[in-house]
């Protein structure tokens, strides 16, 4: 068995990469997968906070790379799930402390004993992004239904293609179904029109996400959270399950289609 390395990236900051990484890691571990999450955002680490593991950090990614500790020592075990680990980023250094080759080597060291290695990429298109991308088997692009986030996602997809990775998959995060229904927010269809890659999940805007991040308890553990349910569904799709994307169906429901047709017809006349 060898782990699949998944890099979660976006280009734009603040779209939910870290939340997605923490939740997918949690959701995968919850269904019995052996998971390691790596925070590749050297200098601006966050993943430890979102996963609620900040107070357990002793060593970090740069310590491993520079030989101050063994890989095993930098792996922090999750509080709740026994097969979930997190490797924190260094807070005191910058992206140049790590090279793409370092990341490939660390991912390869982790492959034999795990099922999934999730890498939380920093925002941007520079060194940090290249580090995170280098070992990826699967690239997940997180974006929000807003023009600037989609623009950056498009740029990242282009750069992923240039690295000859497989076509990335898209997570559309922070969708507000109400706004979509009123025609005030980009629909998944509009986003896919531009990006033209496979959609692997739609995560609705959910206040419980913010609360969960602050408390360090990933929302995927919350059975009542819509966002948590969406992340669990994405985890299953990563496992090869062909679950329909519920949120998409809600958006493209018959009533909506009819409304849109009426609107379009009205414009044409």
């Amino acid at each position: 068995m060898s782990a699949t390395v998944v890099t979660v990236t976006s280009g734009k900051g603040g779209v939910g990469k870290t939340t997605a990484t923490a939740n997918l890691g949690t959701a995968l571990a919850e269904i019995g997968q052996r998971v390691v999450c790596i925070d590749a955002d050297i200098g601006l680490r966050n993943l430890d906070v979102v996963m609620g593991l900040e107070n357990r950090i002793v060593y970090d990614l740069v310590d491993v790379i520079e030989g101050r500790c063994k890989l095993r020592q930098a792996m922090i075990k999750d509080k709740r799930l026994s097969d979930l680990y997190m490797i924190p980023a260094a807070q005191t250094r910058d992206k140049t402390a790590v090279s793409p080759e370092d990341m490939v080597r660390i991912a390869d060291d982790l492959r034999p004993k795990h099922d999934w290695v999730l890498i939380d990429s920093p925002a941007g298109i520079e060194r940090g992004f290249r580090n995170a991308l280098a070992p990826a088997d699967i690239v997940l692009i997180v974006t929000n239904p807003e023009v600037s986030a989609v623009r950056d996602a498009d740029r990242i997809i282009g750069m992923t293609e240039a690295e000859e990775k497989d076509e990335p998959k898209l997570i559309l995060n922070r969708v507000k179904p109400e706004m979509v229904r009123r025609g005030e927010m980009l629909r998944a269809e509009d986003v896919l029109d531009i990006l033209a890659i496979e959609l692997i999940g739609v995560v609705p805007e959910d206040e419980s996400v913010l609360k969960a991040s602050n408390q360090g308890v990933p929302v995927a553990l919350n059975g009542r959270s819509k966002a948590g349910r969406a992340y669990r569904a994405i985890a299953l799709r990563l496992m090869g399950d062909e679950l329909p994307i519920e949120e998409l169906e809600a958006e493209g429901g018959l009533f909506n289609r009819l409304t849109r047709m009426v609107k379009a017809g009205g414009q044409a006349a």
């Binding site: 298109i125 498009d154 740029r155 997809i157 531009i194 033209a196 414009q267 044409a268």
Partner: protein, 225 residues
């Protein structure tokens, strides 16, 4: 041990090079080599490269039948021998490789033309945000030009897809340059030194051609005329 066979895929068939030597020796060894790969050849369309070998219509006809018994269709004979050409033509065989396959060995000459501005670059892909293409000639895109992508061409820009990014045709000052697309809604459109912003679209996208007329942008329906 059979003879090695030199072959390559052409179009939807195979081009097999017939080895040199006396026909009475070559024919059985060719058939033997094919028999040893019978699963591979069964149902195939085959063209034979005969070089300057001279064969009579009878010899060629027999070979065709023998291949036919092996469920192989002989479709073409490539040869420089006049006799073999005539024999092949009599049997209704093609005398050149199927047109669908450009012979990979043959080299194409660089453009031979007296017309100006004929050179174009073809991009068969989607140009994503951050991609920039600059070319002194024409630019042809089969795919979309997404927002944030830029195409700068000395000549025309032709897009079989949607234009959402920035397109500049006639960038070296050619006011005759045009921009065509199936769906023309660029962030910004430039021809020569003129700059324009797409008007708000009404109704369905349709193929359009944008150009300058008396220094003003006009977009016409892009159709055969």
């Amino acid at each position: 041990m059979s003879i090695p066979l030199t072959m390559k895929g052409i179009g939807d068939g195979l081009l097999v090079t017939v080895p040199e030597g006396t026909w009475s020796v070559v024919r059985p060894s060719l058939l033997q080599a094919i028999d040893e790969r019978s699963n591979f050849f069964r149902g195939a369309y085959v063209a034979l490269q005969m070089a300057d070998r001279s064969l009579s219509a009878a010899e060629l006809s027999r070979l065709r039948d023998e291949l036919g018994e092996r469920e192989i269709a002989l479709t073409a004979i490539l040869t420089t021998s006049e006799q073999t050409r005539v024999a092949g033509a009599d049997l209704g065989l093609a005398l050149e490789a199927p047109r669908s396959s450009l012979d990979q060995d043959s080299e194409l000459d660089p453009i031979e033309s007296d017309l100006e501005g004929d050179e174009a670059v073809l991009l068969h892909r989607t140009l994503r945000s951050g991609h920039t293409i600059r070319h002194p000639g024409h630019v042809i895109v089969i795919g979309d030009i997404n927002p944030g992508a830029q195409v700068v061409a000395g000549g025309n820009v032709v897009v079989w897809g949607r234009v959402r990014g920035v397109v500049h045709a006639g960038a070296a000052g050619n006011t005759e340059a045009v921009v065509c697309a199936l769906d023309l809604a660029p962030t910004q459109l430039r021809i020569a030194a003129q700059i324009s912003i797409s008007p708000e679209r009404k109704g369905k996208p349709r193929p359009e051609m944008a150009m300058l007329k008396d220094g003003q942008f006009v977009a016409e329906s892009w159709k055969h005329n």
